[in-house]
């Protein structure tokens, strides 16, 4: 089922949580709402799920306006950030809850409920813990139960609020992969909220980057990473070096107030001067796995520039701390200062 969001606005008192949001989620897609805390992503998710109500704007499920439907009637599965498992019920009863509270006519008989709950618990690989209580589980297990519980009512849409937010790094990585696999199996339209760019890049089909109640950019993970639409996206996703055009007219070919954004791995380093290169002193060298990170300071201003090289590339032209090097960008993006729309959509290619 597809989701269409039209001109959505939400205020909390004087605070604008969502400002004119327009978004289209295709049927069967897995979409990430990515942004810093307070950007409105959770509010948007809760409004889609019917847990909050917008001040204006429409939400359409499969082209049908569902404004008048409350959370019970939207057939949406919601997975809460802190799981919200019913603490006084066993895992079995937690998952069965949605089936048991159905109106009498639609309710399945006990054998059918049993069968379906066990099927779901098998799906999340927790069948062997069916009689335990939530308090006896680890965080990762609780998260999986929360998911099974949401899936029990066969939702058309699955909404997940920071699904891995409260877990440690290792469990997170496992669950991420698992969620991706599960989604590929079930193909239910899913939207999840995260503040972790890595999570969004790794799991989602498409990423919606949000900031201060507005959508900054929508695109595939590759698009968003390689072609950030705004300075905010540039800074939020991945590392980036900033150059002010006034001091680096050489690179930007521009004399107005613009900022140049260059990814650390898009900077080339050489021992010979290049037509548009800057001179810099190597301050620190750190080899981390397959990459080598250099911290250099430009001459004469001493601005810090971070550079990432592959190990092979570094070994081809080894430098050491204190060396003078010449650096130039392969790929640069300019944005007018203090505005977020790119003034120059052209991308300078130097190499």
């Amino acid at each position: 089922m597809s989701i269409t969001i039209q001109n959505l606005n939400k205020q909390f008192g004087n605070f604008t949580a969502l400002n004119n949001i327009n978004l289209e989620v295709e049927s069967g897609e897995l979409v990430a709402l990515l942004g810093p805390s307070g950007c409105g992503k959770t509010t948007l998710l809760r409004i889609i799920g019917g847990l909050d109500v917008q001040n204006s704007g429409n939400i359409l499920f499969h082209g049908k306006n569902i404004a008048h439907r409350n959370a019970r009637e939207r057939s949406v599965g919601f997975v809460f950030q802190h799981y919200a498992l019913f603490r006084h019920m066993t895992l079995f009863e937690n998952v069965a809850f949605g089936l048991r509270v159905k109106p009498k006519k639609e309710r399945h008989n006990e054998t059918e409920i049993k069968r379906r709950v066990h099927e779901l618990l098998q799906l999340v690989q927790l069948d062997w813990l069916a009689d335990r209580y939530p308090a006896q589980l680890s965080g990762g297990q609780r998260q999986r139960v929360a998911l099974a519980r949401a899936l029990a009512v066969e939702p058309q849409i699955l909404l997940l609020d920071e699904p891995f937010g409260a877990l440690d790094t290792k469990v997170r990585k496992e669950l991420r992969r698992w969620l991706r696999r599960l989604h590929d199996e079930l193909h239910v339209t899913s939207v999840f909220v995260t503040h972790d760019q890595e999570e969004a890049l790794e799991v989602a089909d498409r990423i919606v980057v949000m900031n201060k109640g507005e959508i900054e950019q929508v695109g595939s993970p590759d698009e968003v990473y390689a072609n950030p639409g705004s300075p905010f996206v540039y800074e939020f996703i991945g590392n980036v070096n900033l150059f002010h055009s006034r001091t680096h007219a050489l690179w930007t070919h521009q004399h107005g107030d613009a900022i140049a954004y260059v990814r650390p791995h898009d900077i080339e380093i050489s021992s010979d001067p290049h037509p548009s290169s800057l001179t810099a002193i190597v301050k620190q060298i750190r080899a981390i796995g397959p990459t080598v990170r250099l911290e250099t300071a430009t001459l004469p201003d001493g601005e810090i520039v971070e550079i990432e090289l592959s190990r092979e590339r570094f070994n081809a032209t080894p430098v050491s701390v204190g060396d003078k090097v010449f650096i130039y960008p392969r790929h640069i993006r300019l944005f007018e200062e203090k505005k977020k729309n790119p003034e120059f959509s052209a991308i300078a290619h130097h190499s």
Binding site: R72, H82, F97, V101, P134, V153
Partner: protein, 293 residues
Amino acid sequence: MRNSSRLQPSHIKIATCEPRIVARILIAIALFYLALFLGLPLFAVFYEALGKGWELYLEALRDPDAGSAIELTLIAAAIAVPANLIFGVAAAWAIAKFEFRGKNLLITLIDLPFAVSPVVSGMIYVLLFGAQGWLGPWLQEHDIKLIFAVPGIVLVTIFVTFPFIARELIPLMQAQGKDEEEAAVSLGASGWQTFWRITVPNIKWGLLYGVILCNARAMGEFGAVSVVSGHIRGMTNTVPLHVEILYNEYNFVAAFSVASLLALLALITLLAKSIVEYRVRKDSQTIPHGETE
């Protein structure tokens, strides 16, 4: 437990402990004070009641006036506790699960009866319903008697026990948040289904705790009930009022015999309260609140 290591053998000095002798003196002071003000009176009630033998004790309890006093006390509590239970749950539901203006004012107003002297609590009902009160003439016309009658006793009992259950439930339900209820609704549960299957099981211990305290006060209230009762023997006497009458007649054995029933009620209350506190502590130990592993 860090407490268990607080008393160190005297030859070891720990910087975050008092010297052993100081600890001993403090414990002695505390125990003496508690023995003097709590232990001794408690013992004295039962001693005075039973000191002259079981015969007199049972005779005092078998007195028909005592019986009707017990009956009235039970009736008052049986009405006041459920009434305040329903109120407490409704108030806590509105306050803990919703955001609205004037919430803090409402919480303060709910606590108000605790700030009012028992005597004043009784008096305001006399001013409303008494013969010279606002509604007095109207009530007399229709031959309804509230003051110096059972309904008045029930009303003031409700008033003095008004906040007990609400003030237990409000902080509890606020701390629990509304995540679980929202999850239930998103899974298709109706309002009542959510309330009975999710909320009630989560607040049952807090509810019970409030009921225990509410009941103890309802059965033991003296000042407020005394003002509206009229002290008619066998009619409008509650157990505490009956104790007063017997004491004022210098019938000490009977007074303490009946009083011992109330003291027993107090002990049962304390026991039940401790059990509930123990259960709550046990429950909260198995449910870690920080969920990071």
